[in-house]
């Protein structure tokens, strides 16, 4: 604020001058003018700025300085005006400009207008020397001498040329003749005795030099290199100390593509180059091969220093670890298995097909003698086939899609248990001789009386005489998924996956009685199997397999396959080994004596395993899956407890076609021959023989 005001002052002061000024003169004698002006104005400025603080101090200083400089010139000529250092504004409106030395008013001179002054300037060649003196209201003409002085001042020299500012100093005072020193004090003693401290310092130095602590000559140059490694014979000395040294990996050697002139196939095409642009920067190849026609056209590699630096960083910043690089033939990873020829016989090729069903065959079962095979399909029929000829002997229509069926294991009781929907039918197949037929009829008939009695109770199952075929129907509350017989042929179990506490039921055929021994299962039951020799009962839920002792009626073991969803279970005829198939295509082999964890997991199929089966006499087991294949394995169990079972994959059986995303739905072994039956979703049953 203050500063702008000061500037405004300047402008005001300049204004009155303008008429008297000529363009030529102006730039030349600007300084002169300023000095005078400030001289004249100084007092008023002071007054004006006194109350305003120090902000405009700088401007003031400048003005004062210039005022001081002009002092000498003012001394020479006495001013005409005598008003002193008052602001000239006070006289602005007056007729006079002040008073002369005698006290008379000095009247203002008539002002020339601009044209006059210009004309005067043109006429008079000396006009550029003229300066208007506001204070005295007159024009002053500067002499040549004065102009010279101004010029010198402008150049920053002394005003008068004859003055030498750097004249050598002449010492006019003559010291010699003066009788008295400047100080009258007596000379101290220390001027006459050697300094103790200096002496100490000297002694110090002398000693240091003697001792060799201070040396003045440059140290002697020793040869920089010598024979560092002498004889390499002593091995013990040549051991590196400290931790084990891990040498840095050597930089990768250049391949064909790094050549200055690689073959054409190493140079990426234009499209590939463009595709690099679309990649993320990390994925982009670091080096793009280029071809140069001749060696002289190869430029300097711009990244050489950077790459050297990166290598340095790798060497001292990268943690080093010893990694075992596996340099083996992948084929050597494959286990050494006994040759398949030694493991014969096993089912190898498809020998027979049983056609007749119109829907996917859900389940098959082979009669103990191995002469008959029964199959149940979703078209609601159960068919009985002769194994060796493939002749369809009988067809029952049960009305609902058959889930599962099983032959009675007793050869003299050719009864077929068929689960279809909520019902389980016990069908009289009508095989065997007359005596047997009679007995079966009796067995399947007698119970009808009892059924009426049992029907009144709140049992989960009601035993009813079948209307169409001669047999019994067990009415369940929920859908029955599997039916399995006990080896003695009297008991059989049914599983209802959604049956909660009544999921697993055990029925007695002779007494027409149903029991529910297992009340609590944590997960939905999948299937239940009897132990082939002992009174054990295997119930597989989706998560695990539970083993119950039926005689003590308690849980004795829980097998944990660690699979996502168990789909099927089969027990080795020896009774100590169990295989469990899962919906993720994996199969687990449990050795019951070994642990509750699987002895081996076999990731055989890419799709769900639908069923697994053991052979009764041969060391064979099989799995079938929705990927339309069945795997046959050799599974030898040794009587020696110390020897682990030997499992060898033998054969993949193809042949079925997929329908509705399902492949092979069931597989069973022939009880005596190494033959495998498979039931497919393509409504075909196949027999594979060796």
């Amino acid at each position: 604020m203050a500063k702008s005001r000061a500037e405004a002052d300047h402008v005001e002061q300049e204004e009155p001058e303008e008429p008297s000024e000529n363009g030529f003169v102006r730039e030349f004698d600007h300084q002169e003018e300023e000095s005078e002006r400030s001289d004249a104005v100084g007092s008023s400025e002071d007054e004006g700025s006194s109350g305003e603080g120090e902000k405009d101090g700088e401007d003031d200083e400048e003005i004062h300085q210039s005022a001081e400089e002009s002092d000498s010139s003012e001394d020479e000529v006495a001013p005409r005006n005598t008003i002193g250092e008052v602001p000239l504004e006070w006289y602005k409106d007056e007729e006079h400009i002040g008073f002369d030395i005698t006290g008379k008013k000095i009247s203002k001179q008539a002002r020339k207008d601009k044209i006059d002054s210009f004309l005067a300037g043109v006429d008079d060649s000396k006009n550029w020397r003229k300066i208007y003196d506001e204070y005295n209201d007159e024009e002053v003409e500067l002499t040549k001498e004065e102009i010279r002085i101004i010029r010198r001042l402008l150049k920053g020299r002394t005003p008068h040329a004859e003055v030498d500012p750097y004249a050598p100093y002449v010492d006019w005072f003559d010291w010699e003749d003066k009788g008295h020193p400047l100080s009258n004090a007596p000379e101290p003693k220390r001027r006459f005795i050697p300094s103790k401290w200096e002496q100490k310092k000297v002694v110090q130095y002398v000693r240091a030099i003697r001792k060799g602590l201070i040396k003045f000559d440059k140290p002697k140059e020793e040869p920089r290199f010598y024979l560092l490694w002498g004889d390499d014979s002593s091995v013990a000395e040549n051991k590196r100390h400290g931790l084990s040294y891990i040498p840095a990996p050597k930089p990768k050697l250049a391949g064909h593509e790094e050549s200055y002139n690689p073959s054409i196939e190493y140079i990426p095409t234009q499209e590939e180059m463009n595709s690099y642009q679309l990649m993320y920067e990390e994925d982009r190849p670091k080096y793009i091969p280029r071809r140069y026609e001749s060696l002289r056209s190869v430029p300097a590699y711009e990244n050489s220093l950077k790459e050297g630096f990166d290598r340095c960083l790798d060497l001292y910043l990268c943690p080093r670890t010893r990694k075992k690089r596996i340099n083996i033939d992948p084929e050597s990873l494959k286990p050494k298995l006994p040759s398949k020829k030694d493991l014969k016989p096993y089912p190898l090729t498809c020998y027979l097909e049983y056609r007749g069903h119109s829907g996917p065959v859900n389940s098959i079962s082979i009669e103990v003698s191995g002469q008959w095979i029964a199959s149940g399909s979703t078209d609601g029929t159960v068919r009985l086939w002769e194994v060796e000829t493939g002749r369809c002997l009988r067809v029952w229509d049960v009305g609902e899609a058959v889930q599962h069926l099983a032959w009675n294991p007793l050869p003299e009781l050719p009864i077929l248990a068929v689960s279809a929907g909520h019902k389980v039918h016990l069908l009289n197949t009508g095989l065997g001789d007359a005596e047997e037929k009679m007995r079966i009829k009796e067995l399947l008939h007698v119970e009808e009386v009892l059924t009426d009695d049992a029907g009144n109770s709140v049992a989960a199952v009601s035993w009813v005489q079948h209307e169409k075929h001669d047999g019994i129907t067990l009415e369940h509350l929920k859908t029955v998924s599997t039916v399995e017989w006990h080896r003695k042929g009297d008991y059989f179990s049914t599983v209802m996956p959604s049956g909660d506490s009544r999921a697993v039921l055990i029925h007695q055929l002779s007494k027409k009685h149903t029991a529910n021994p297992i009340k609590k299962l944590r997960a939905p039951a999948v299937s239940a199997v009897f132990h082939p020799t002992r009174p054990f009962f295997f119930v597989s839920t989706k998560k695990n397999v539970r083993v119950y002792d039926l005689s003590k009626n308690k849980l004795i073991k829980k097998l944990d396959p660690g699979l996502r969803e168990v789909s099927s279970i089969a027990i080795h005829p020896g009774g100590d080994n169990v295989i469990v198939g899962s919906k993720e295509g994996k199969m687990c082999w449990f050795d019951m004596d070994l642990s509750s964890q699987p002895y081996k997991r076999l990731p055989a199929h890419p799709k769900d395993i639908t069923n697994v089966a053991f052979h009764r006499s041969y060391p064979l087991f099989a799995s079938c899956s929705d990927d339309c294949t069945a795997y046959v394995f050799h599974g030898m169990v040794y009587s020696d407890l110390n020897q682990n079972p030997l499992i060898v994959p033998l054969e993949i059986l193809h042949g079925h076609t997929s329908s509705n995303g399902r492949g092979v739905l069931d597989c069973k072994f022939h009880p005596r021959q190494p033959w495998l039956f498979t039931a497919g979703a393509d409504s075909v049953i196949k027999l594979y023989c060796h």
């Binding site: 040498p247 050597k250 250049a254 300097a300 090729t349 993949i652």
Partner: protein, 602 residues
Amino acid sequence: MPKHYRPPGKKKEGNAAKYITRTKAVHHLQVSLPTFRKLCILKGIFPREPKKKVEGNHKTYYHTKDIAFVAHDPLVEKFRDIRAHKRKVKKALARKNRELADRLLNRQPTYKLDRLILERYPAFVDALRDLDDCLTMVHLFAALPAVGGERIQVERIHNCRRLSHEWQAYISQTHSLRKTFISVKGIYYQAEVEGQKITWLTPHALQQVLTDDVDFNVMLTFLEFYEALLGFVNFKLYHSINVKYPPLLDPQLEALAAELYALCRYVSAAPERQLGDSQAISSSENEQSEDKKVDAQTDESDLRLAQLQHQLPANEPGTLMHLVEDATGADDEDNETKECKNLFKKFKFFLSREVPRESLLFIIPAFGGVVSWEGDGSPFKESDEDITHQIVDRPTQGHMFLSREYVQPQWIYDCVNARTILPTEAYLVGRVPPAHLSPFVDNEAEGYVPEYAETIKRLQDAASKQVLPMPGIESGDLDDPQNLLAEGIIDRTEASEAAEKKRKLAMLEKQYHDELNMELQGITYSASLSNKNLQSSVEDVQEDAPADPEQMEKDTRDLSMVAMSRKKRRLYEAMQISKERKKANVNILKERKKKAEASKKE
């Protein structure tokens, strides 16, 4: 952390006690981070990967023993001394005590790395094993501009140049160079010294750019160690061939930037000097006879050079040099060295201005050739009648001598890699030379053999058998690479066709066998079932199981996969993946090649 001091609550074993983070290590050593870096670089200490990172995943861990190893090194104390000394000088200068400052500057504390080198490489072989990085770095710095005021001292660069030349002179004179490769990054060399394969990279002899994105402190620290290491290695190597180290060079040749040549001559001459006077007498006769010729030359420098040449008769083929080499070399040289030594034995080369002189001056003598170049100090002039090959790299050659062949520099490199003298037709002036292939690639392992590699292979076979490469093809045809290439293609196609036929035959045979088997089985079946008559409702499907070999293959693979343990299966799968990747790369190459050929035909 020292053993005796364990803060309460700290572990005394396990990863927590065994490993120490970098920050803690720096605090423990009481040095600054740059000094710590320097110590690590010089001592060769590197971070380790603990099994369990106790202090966090993103930290650098050093082994406590490594840090203790550094802590006990006198170098730490030395670095502290240097720091204190610098402060003293600064103080003296600030007090305007020029005298003291000068005295201090005269006796700066210095350190030597010989002890460290011996500690890191107790045996000479260890040092050779780790020499790759050292050589690459030294050669890189030797190629940097030796300009004052840059971040690198000029003396360092000159030292690097000298060391690299000394190394090259040794390799060249002992004929231990094995492979060379011109890449875009520079020229790779592989030498074999004491059974160790040493590979290094020299940048192209062009102006190198100093970039800003590198930390020169780190690089110079590495260089410091490498300079010392290479010096000692060179000393040992020169010692082993009875040459004094450091070599004294002819200043004139040095001035002409032909240090390598000067060194080579020095090296080859030295054993002779030690062998005694007997040869000197014979050489003196030579000298006298040639001195007369020399007199004619008025130029003083020429005179001196000529005299030098007499003193060091390296470049007079078939004189003393020969004797020396036969005397020293013949007994302990292996076959490969002999082969390398005799590759260019009969040839005399002349280098034009525009070819990479340093590289060729290094390579050609390493393989037994005699070489000269255009410029001052060269042993013989361009007009020499004995020159067999002139290396040029220009679009056209003006004046041509009929007695010699004009080839591009790539010919030398390809000959060296192939270890045979390749026909020069493809490398003549103005032609685009055939593809330059890397000698470091194992084509068979890679699964793809470039075309020119096959050509070279055939030539090699031909050379080793000393017969015509292919029956029915005349030598003119042989020399023409185009013909050869075409031949190669035909050959390959033929071979593939033959293979195809073979496979088909095998398949047919197999099928036949299968069917036979099937029939046999059928018979047995029918025999077993003879008493039962087959009914019409049954379709007797004598399915020829999985007949196609692919299915069989897949089955066997699947079966073996089932039998494998999980760990092995994973490993196997990973191997298969890498195999697939390699295959895909090869396929890309093949496709590109096919496309290129197709476009060429059009």
